[in-house]
Structure formats: C-alpha cells, structure tokens
C-alpha cells in the first residue's frame, strides 16, 4: 500500500506546462529519487507535493487521505516536511533554536496553556528540547548547537536544514537537492545520514542532480523531462534507459550510442 500517491498531477504557469499528468506512487520507507535535466519541473513537483502551489489538475493522496487542497502547514502537520533548494534557515538564530522551531507542531498543549506556562506545557517544552538535541546529535551537529546558523559552513547549513525538517516528525521527508554544492566527502556523509533517516522509518523523496548520490541512495527513481515522467525504475534500469540518456545528452543523429560508458 503506497503511503503517497499523486494522480495526473499538473501545473500550468500561464501557457507553460511545468508539470503534466504526473503519476507517482511511493511506498513506506522507500527512498525515491526524482531526476531530470534543468527545467524538467522537479522543484515544481516538490512545491506541489508540499503544498506551496495548488495544482492545476490532479490529486495528491497521503496516507489514503486526499490532501490536494490542504495548505503547506496542514500538510506538514499531516507528516510531509521538506528542505529547500536554496538554503533556508533562521539565520540569526542558533542551530539549537532552529531545530526547536522545527519541533513546533509536536506541541499538544493549547496556546493558553503555553501562555500561562502550565506544568504540562513546560514538561512538553522540555521533552521537545531534548528531542531537538537528540536530532542534532543524530545528525552530527550536536557540538555546534550554540553557533548561529549564519556562521556555519555551507555543508552544515544544508544538514541543519534537514534537521529542522526532521524535527517536525515527518513520515514523508522531501529533500530538494540535499547535496548540491557539496564536495565528495560532504556528499558521502549526507548520503549516509539520509540512509540513517530512512532507517528510522521515514519515507524520503529526493530531487538531486548528483547521480552518484541518487545511485547509492534510491530504491527507485522517476525521471522527468519537460514536466512529464519519461521513465521509472531502479537506478540501474534508469541509467541504461535509452530515453533517459537521450533526455540528458540529446539524440544522436547518426543513431549511434550517445554514451560512451
């Protein structure tokens, strides 16, 4: 039973069909990759799934519930959180505070209790703070918790972005180019972290250009080109798929093999 599905999902911007008739089914605890050349509509798909844009057509189903019309924060409360392609953090706050805000939706006590600092609200705050610390340690940022987000090196900022999304207790985590701009060592570390996150029972959808990362991580990959899905399968199947190679490298006019691998 898939945890996430979308059917005939489409988004038009004026005359531009950014995404057309996309069908996706993601199973629990799967790591699914979405790849495609620049402008293929990957980030638009992300924004459709996380609820930033309403789709032009189609439905989004999560845990057997139609969430097509729900706004971003409600989808987050249902269990879909995301990271951003361009690093998006509370830059003037510390690492720890960033993650604490991520915990926000785990609070069960109402605003009045929080305002009055009743024992229940305080106890809850304490547990959430511990959870935030646990996530930071888990992701290897424990020793940097008092640093300002702004002052972290780029790679750590990307990791912190994942921590914040993770703090909100997602069941489906959307990672938008998590290793973009990282060097090979940082990439390897991040890939390992993503795998560890999956081992905690979280389903992951990942958009990435780094083929090595995709190949090592993903159980299944969907390939987009000009807003359409042109292929789907295991990383190995995808990389030998003729249409995928054409999408990336262009058609060879003489009919020869476009790749040299």
């Amino acid at each position: 039973m898939p945890i996430f599905e979308c059917h005939e999902l489409s988004k038009d911007f004026g005359g531009l069909k950014a995404v057309s008739d996309l069908d996706l089914e993601i199973n629990p605890k799967e790591i699914r990759g979405i790849i495609g050349p620049n402008g293929a509509g990957k980030t638009t798909v992300f924004n459709l799934i996380s609820g930033v844009y309403p789709p032009s057509r189609g439905t989004v189903v999560f845990k057997e519930e139609d969430i097509t019309k729900l706004p971003v924060h409600v989808r987050a409360q249902r269990g879909i959180t995301r990271t951003f392609q361009v690093t998006n953090l509370f830059m003037d706050s510390t690492v720890y505070e960033n993650v604490c805000v991520g915990c926000h939706q785990n609070y069960k006590s109402g605003s009045v209790r929080q305002f009055l600092h009743t024992p229940l609200a305080r106890a809850e705050q304490k547990t959430e703070r511990e959870r935030a610390l646990e996530i930071l340690t888990f992701m290897g940022l424990g020793s940097l918790k008092e640093e300002l987000a702004r002052s972290l090196p780029y790679g750590y900022q990307r990791t912190l972005g994942i921590c914040v999304a993770l703090a909100a207790s997602p069941t489906l985590l959307l990672l938008d180019e998590p290793v973009a701009g990282m060097n090979p060592e940082e990439t390897a570390v991040t890939v390992e972290l993503v795998r560890k996150i999956r081992d905690r029972g979280i389903t992951i959808l990942i958009v990435e250009h780094d083929m090595w990362a995709i190949k090592t991580l993903c159980d299944k990959v969907s390939v987009l080109e000009s807003g359409r899905k042109i292929a789907e399968g295991t990383p190995d199947e995808i990389m030998s798929n003729r249409r995928v190679i054409e999408a990336y490298l262009g058609k060879d006019e003489e009919g020869g093999d476009a790749t040299r691998s």
């Binding site: 924060h73 959180t81 951003f84 003037d92 600092h117």
Partner: protein, 328 residues
Amino acid sequence: MNLREQPRGDYARYGVLAGVGLLLLSLPYLVPTYFAHLLILAGLESIVVMGFVVQLRVGLLSFAIATMWGIGAYISALASTTLGIDFWLCLPLSAMGTALIAFIIGLIIIRAGGVTFLMITIVMAEIFVEAVGHLSVLGGWQGIWGIHPPTIGSFVFVSKVSYYYLTLGLVMLCALIFYALYRSPIGAAWTAIGRSSDLAASVGINLFRYRLAAYVIAAFTVGLSGSVYAHYMCFLVPQSFDIVRSIYLLIYGLVGGIGFTIAGPIIGSVTMNLITEVLRVGDKYQPIFLGGVIVLVALLFRNGILGALPRYITHGLWRRWGRSNANF
C-alpha cells in the same frame, strides 16, 4: 533562556534590576512634575511600541499603530462621557473593543501581507482621523472633552504622581504579558515567521493564525494604553492619532532596539521623550530631528540603544532567542 554563562553577570543583573525597580518607584518624587508628565506619556507610548514591535516580529509593518491607540482611547472616552462608565470598566472594555476591531480588520488585511498590508494600514490611519473628525458623534475636530478621571473609593486620580503609578503598573502588566508570550512556543513561532515565513510554514506553523494572534494581542495591550491615555489627557482630538504619530512611535522602537521586544520599546520611548524635551526640540523641528535620529540609528546602531550595550547586560534578560541584529 539558559543562564549558565557568567553567574557573576547574573548577580550584577539582579542588582541592577533591584536598583532600577527602586528608582522607578521613587522617580515621581525625585523629578519635577513636568518630567513625571513626560514619563507617563513615555510609558503609555512604550506599550504602543511593544504592540508595533510584536507586529513587526511576524512581518507586519504597520503604520496604523497610533490608530489602534486612538481606537482604544476613543472607546474609553466615549464610554466614559456618553455612558458614564467607570474607568475601571472602560479599561478592559477598550482593550477588548480594540482587540475585536483588530480581529475583524485582521481577518481581511493580514492575508494580504507584505507591502499590501503596509499600504492598507496607511489608508486606515488616514481614514480614522478623517472619520472621527467628520463625525460629530465622536466629537469631531473639536474632540471629546470631560473624560472622567479614574477613582478608587474616594481617591481620585488627578495628580501626576498617581497617574505615574497607574502607568507604571500598566507597563509592567503589558511587559509581563509579552514576556510570557515571547518565552513560550508562541513567541518562538512569531520570531520564526518573521525570520523566514516559508520555513516556518514548512514545519507546520500556521502563518495566518499566528500573525492574527500577534495583531490582536497587540491591539489588546494598545487598547489598554489608549484607555489610560484618554483619561489622563481628559480630552482627545483625532489628530493626536495620525500617521505621523505612528511614525514617531516606530522611531521610538528603532531607537530602543527592534530586536528587544520589551525593553526596547520602553527604553526607546523614555529616551526619545526625554531627549526631545531636554534639547527643547520644538514641534516645528521635531520631524527634522527625528529624521536625523533615524539616519544615526541606521548607520551606527542597527539594533538601537540596547543593541549597542555590552552583551552581558542584555543577554537572555529581555530578548527572545537570536543574538545578532533583528532583520528589519
């Protein structure tokens, strides 16, 4: 907030706090009556600035903050003069009335957000002055006279000293309300929204709800302040609550330090009220003087007076999380 750093700094801070407390209590007997008047005004204005700062915290830049103040003042004034309601009832009444009006307006204008919100608040500020000026029911341009002073038993609030303590109590109450809010997850969500609304929404924070809450709570406290202002002044004219007043209040906030949500407004209002008085800046030159102050703050003190103080004084005492300059 953790206080693990510098225990000596903590003792020093408690000492300073106690000193400040004593000073605040004895102040009206130490300064000339006229300064007590300034302090009362500054105190009432500081509550309004707190409201401005909390709105800014969630990304709502409002030029109608003095308008809210005016709404609170007018509710209290009308309730007192036409219905003869006692001050102690007028006070919560105008707070709740202002909050209710803010709630209704907020439902419409907060979704607009950003620049649109700002433009609408400018229009609101203009409409309020014109509407009150042209409606004789609300006193018109001549204003409302004869607002009854507060009484406790046979004691009547007439002297500056009595109003000073009333104001002091009110400022403390509002500071306490805001302190409790900023310290709770609500305040963390507010700050998060102001710093990155996309990210805040992506972790499940309902932007509209939290913005509306900030807007309405600000209105509530500003309404309290407006009520006392009306009874203190005894008469009201609509021009006191025009957009220029809002801009002055905004500058007070900047001078105190916009990143300091509670102490900033207090320090800013008191300093600016005293400075303009001591330097005897006339009404004529006040805009030029304040213009100069803005330039000075923008160039040298991006986080106001408090931001310029050493960190061991300010750390953790007033400011909710975040250490560097607030994004303004």
